[in-house]
Amino acid sequence: MSAPSFGRAALEVAAKDLRLEWRTFESLSAAFVFSLIVLVLFSFAFGFSAAREFGVERIVPGAVWTVLAFATVVTVSRSMELERRRDTWTALFLAPVDRGALFTGKLAANLIKNGLLHVVVVVLAALFFDFDLLANALPLLLVLVVHAIGLTGLGTLFGAIAMRVGRGEALLATLLFPAAAPVFVSAVKCTASVLAGRGLGGEARTWLLATIGFDLLYFLVALATFEFVLEE
């Protein structure tokens, strides 16, 4: 039997993760409740009418992306914890496939989970902070996708590292947030631009393009280095 191709292997890993998630909803349910609570905390922290007083574009982008950054830590570390519990990493590592394919599969599954979560969080934020979601849906979706790739990509690489040394969310957050700071800044800037009614032109466009470059760079770095993380 010949070894499966890169794409096939990545697809299998992603499908396995998503199947597990579908059966248990373990990481999504945890991340969803967590996000909801943080959103509520933000309303308490800023006051219930803050978005109306200071403008939606001043409050919402920061609140939403802070929630999403922490929620990413929750989903990613769950997906890694899953492999650690019964040492299924060893099984994955022994599979005769490219290690980069394992990373790509994990990343794809995490991205789909995070994507769902992001949509729910943004919808909730629209309800809580009262902004027009429908008018901004498409540009917001683009902003979510581009920044989720960067955040989840680095998150998956660092999540595997944190899992390897047996530390969970705390170490992942310590590693991920400083490294992903450029993505975070860009996400807030782009979201603010959309919510302020300026769309994705001008400055936001530069941020978006720069983040696509960031996504690509760190995807390649992760592909090249993931095998060193998995190794026993």
Binding site: I161, L171, T174, L175, A179, P182, V185
Partner: protein, 229 residues
């Protein structure tokens, strides 16, 4: 028997000590008092060279990390280990000396300027590397994981700098004082001498930490050999 390597390290030790003495003398006795900022400005002769050495450490960290993952020789990892520790030391000192100067000069301890923010995030990344190394189940795993983070962190430094620069919109005008205008004669000589001094100190710390890491490697190997019988 005294080896050449020990002699070289000893000479570097002596040279650095003398240079540091001279540098302190220059900073406090020779360099003229800055007209606007007064005495607190003198901390810049140490602050700026230390910031430069922090970024030099990150470059060495990148080289050591790539070298280790490429060749799997422990010497490269030891270089990375030395670089990240030396970098963390200088980075900490930069973050301590900066606010001491900023409070009298700007009236605030901290501002979210590109250089400051990048230094703070870099400090967190360097701490992260140390944490991963100490959590790792063995030295080999720590070396691999730290090298991966080292590469990510080193590539990230210019990106973070650029991102924060854009985020802020523009530099505070006050910050141009160090680089924009020509320094007074006594100042620029002192400043140049301090940079040379800190390059020496950097080399000394890096070499000493590297040697310590090599010794750690050798003693670990010796223990393994003893255990294997």
């Amino acid at each position: 028997m005294i080896r050449t390597r020990d002699l070289a390290l000893g000479a570097l030790w002596g040279l650095t000590t003398v240079a540091m003495g001279v540098a302190i003398g220059l900073v406090f006795l020779y360099a003229p008092e800055e007209r606007v900022m007064g005495a607190p400005q003198r901390i810049f002769y140490f602050h700026v060279p230390m910031a430069l050495m922090t970024f030099l450490s990150v470059f060495v960290l990148l080289v050591g990390s790539i070298g280790y993952l490429w060749t799997r020789r422990s010497a490269w990892d030891d270089l990375g280990r030395a670089a990240s520790d030396t970098g963390l030391l200088f980075c900490t000192l930069v973050l301590v000396t900066g606010p001491i100067w900023a409070k009298p000069a700007w009236g605030v301890w901290w501002t979210w300027e590109a250089r400051l923010t990048t230094t703070l995030l870099l400090w967190l990344l360097l701490v992260g590397i140390r944490m991963v190394r100490s959590y790792a189940v063995n030295r080999d795993q720590g070396a691999r994981l730290a090298a991966v983070i080292g590469i990510v962190a080193a590539l990230d430094v210019p990106i973070i700098y650029k991102a924060v620069d854009w985020w802020r919109g523009q530099h505070p005008v006050l910050f141009r004082q160090g680089g924009g205008q020509a320094l007074a004669p006594g100042m620029s000589e002192t400043f140049s001498f301090c940079i040379v001094t800190f390059v020496l100190l950097f080399a000394l710390l890096l070499a000493t930490r590297y040697r310590l890491a090599r010794l750690e490697d050798r003693s670990l190997h010796a223990i393994e050999r003893l255990r294997a019988g």
